[in-house]
Amino acid sequence: MNALTGYLAVLAALGGSAALGWTGFQVSRGRKPSSALRTPVLLVVLGAVVAMLALETAILSHDFTVAYVARNTATTTPFVFLLASGWAALEGSIVLWGLVLAAFTYAVARTVTPGDGLGAGALSVMGLVGVFWFGLMATVANPFEVCTAAGTVGCNATSWWPLAAAVAPLEGVGPNPLLQNHILMAVHPPMLYIGYVGLTVPYAFAMSALARGERGKVWLDRTHRWSLVAWCFLTFGILLGAWWSYEVLGWGGYWAWDPVENAAFLPWLVATAFLHSAVVQRRRGMLQAWNFALVISAFALTILGTFLTRSGVILSVHSFTQSAVGPTILGFLGVVVVASFVLFALRVHLVASSPRLESLASREGVFLLNNLLLTLFAFTVLVGTMYPLLIETFSGRQVSVGRPFFDRVTLPVAFALLLALGVGPVAPYRVAKPAVVWRRIRTPVRISLVAGAATVLVGVRSVPTVVVVVLAAFVIGVIVRHLWSQITPLRPEMGIGRAAARLFRRDAGYWGGQVAHVGLALVAVAIATSTALAVRTEVRLTPGEAVPVEGYCLRYEGPFTESTAQRSVEGARLVLLRDDCATEIRSMAPRLNRYPNSAQAVATPDVRTGLVDDVYVSLAGGSADEIVLDVFVFPLMWLLWAGGLVTVAGGVWSFVARKPPRERPTARPPAEATAHG
């Protein structure tokens, strides 16, 4: 029953998407009234919602006739993990993807007014994108396949036909151990999906503007908020992913330049570049063609990211053909890239004509530098991620590209970006006079030099770390000085707090951006300190023994075990002490978790977060008499999470507090549009 309902819902959403693609095109040409869009949009939304509900119902009621349920859940699975199983495995994740896409489609449809050709065209593009995702669900990634032969645990054979004679295994296989180990594993992918799918909206408007040969910045004005939403969710999703990796995975890090991480980071880099270049076009009418190229790239990278994470290609080039999902997504990626850039090449002369850049030494110049650097950053990550795949595909050789490459190549780019981040806000538009810039930076320069000297004096000898501290202090100094100079004239009237609040409200986009910059500067410092100054030691302890470790002391009390139907736990009870080995700080309990459906244990570290540093203890192994611990000390780790949250807060502020731009959806005369667009 669940399978039938779900499959019919997928078909309804697929039909709705196809109808939307066609009707949107017709409406955009003026051949149909915009009211014709309503039915297809509702069909997409209804289909997507019912599909997700049907899947969740099947999971929560342990309906093992649905193969997905038998494969990814078990009767012993706790409720929250059951719920999360609805989107945690491949097919379910695509159902969630479809749901998010339907939500965005609905939200865009609400902004489309009669005569709004650009918006109708964008809906048409979103419909076509929907055809792909719902088509995937109806065919090769069908979450509603029924189980036709039951094994003792799980399903031995399946059929796509929802009315096939279904049998239910007595028990399901259960979720992936990593998912069961921590609920964050279930929360951070949806954040990333909202970010990923959100980038479909600016892409759809860009395609619509290109296809209609519509000049000017209307498409940018209409998509700016969507881009911001997507960016905020992407940022938050990446942050959560890093935190999960650090707090849960237990290898003692938060970023491994793993292809899955890179897959989320690539669209973020390009979306960040786009947010900035969009400002240049909105303010000065420049970079029009470039903005189209960036939006297309960002969207294509979200598809590439899905391909990398969902096709199994990372494990081996040869494993991805075992399922048809990988090749299908790859094919879609090819279609998107070719079709988009062909349209771009055919139409770009109609839509883009940029005014002169008066001087490279100007705000526009710095924006250009920012875009060059972010593009370079994205390109480097892309090349490093794809290199092993390409080499193996074309020559059969197996090679790796890892942290040494990414760290070394992106470090100078990141330094240059930080510098640009500091100089940007002080450089005036059009032409920056050196005297003006100097007056604005002389105090921040002094502050940053003092901050650098202080870092050296506390004993840091790592050159990159000191450079990052100097640059970050400069960035923050410039922003604070600027804020202060704006507050000063208002101060006698209303006091500092209200003056700042008024500034932040009046120019929410700008100040939100500056808050995000402060956050990024803090993140940069935390990355530097936690990379260059981290200490790692292996400690062996017998019960009752205490040993000094890197300025602290650890005492081993004894082992403990826990056992539930879901998992069994082996852990070590420890006490963290000051370096005198007498003053207790707190107790710690790193663990190894074993799940019935996996031979490999999943480690859960214990982390004590402090203002100066984190003590990170992971259980590496051992026996009844002796345990082996990996102990890390990471200076200033909290800055990473705090800075990341500040960055997200900045993005959210520019989105929430900014008045939505006046939308003029009806066709404007092209001449007027280019005059300031």
């Binding site: 237990g250 290898w251 003692g252 890090g253 793993d258 029009q288 063609a289 470039w290 190229a293 297309i296 790239s297 850039f341 771009f344 090449a345 770009v348 002369h349 883009a352 004509s353 940029s354 005014p355 002169r356 850049l357 490279l360 250009l368 060059l372 593009t375 370079l376 390109f379 480097t380 090349v383 290199y387 080499i391 050789r397 197996q398 090679v399 790796s400 590209v401 890892g402 942290r403 040494p404 490459f405 070394r408 190549v409 780019v413 002094r446 030099l449 003092v450 650098g452 000297a453 050296v456 004096l457 000898r461 050159v463 000191v466 292996e538 480690a603 992971s618 590496a620 192994g621 990996d630």
Partner: protein, 152 residues
């Protein structure tokens, strides 16, 4: 008085700069001892039986054993190249997390530089054309697109 304060501010900044430069001089850097070399080697080599992490990072017994092996060989006086060669011979070239700067590896390492060159050239040449064409002439839009697409 204001003048004096300004000079004092710059004096502090100058002292800070000197402190920083002196503190970071090569002579004040910790020496590259065997332990540091072993750590560097372990982070550049992939743990062959783990999930893609380096020997230094992977949380498994195999990785610890391999790390101990590296420490031992560094202590015996093996050079970096000898250790890389040993691991490559044993586990294939995929143990190198930083592909050597040769063949396709060179393309990998140098491609970001090439893109940087193209980007700078694109920006500078556009500026030149514009300057030559004068303010009245808008730049050819097709060229704007063409020079930018490559960068994407």
């Amino acid at each position: 008085m204001a003048e004096l304060r300004r000079w004092a501010g710059w004096a502090v900044a100058a002292i800070a700069a000197v402190v920083m430069v002196v503190g970071l001089l090569p002579t004040n850097q910790p020496p590259v001892d065997d332990a540091a070399r072993a750590t560097a080697l372990a982070s550049n080599l992939r743990c062959p039986f783990c999930q893609g992490e380096s020997i230094a990072e992977a949380p498994s017994q195999v990785a610890r054993d391999l790390e101990a092996f590296i420490v031992e060989k560094v202590g015996e006086g093996w050079t970096d190249d000898e250790i890389y060669a040993f691991f490559e011979a044993r586990y294939g070239e995929r143990v190198r997390l930083d592909p050597p700067l040769a063949g396709w590896g060179a393309a990998l390492w140098l491609s970001p530089l090439a893109l940087l060159g193209v980007g700078i050239a694109a920006i500078v040449s556009r500026r030149r054309d514009r300057a030559a064409a004068g303010a009245a002439q808008p730049a050819a839009p097709s060229q704007v697109g063409a020079s930018k697409v490559e960068v994407s």
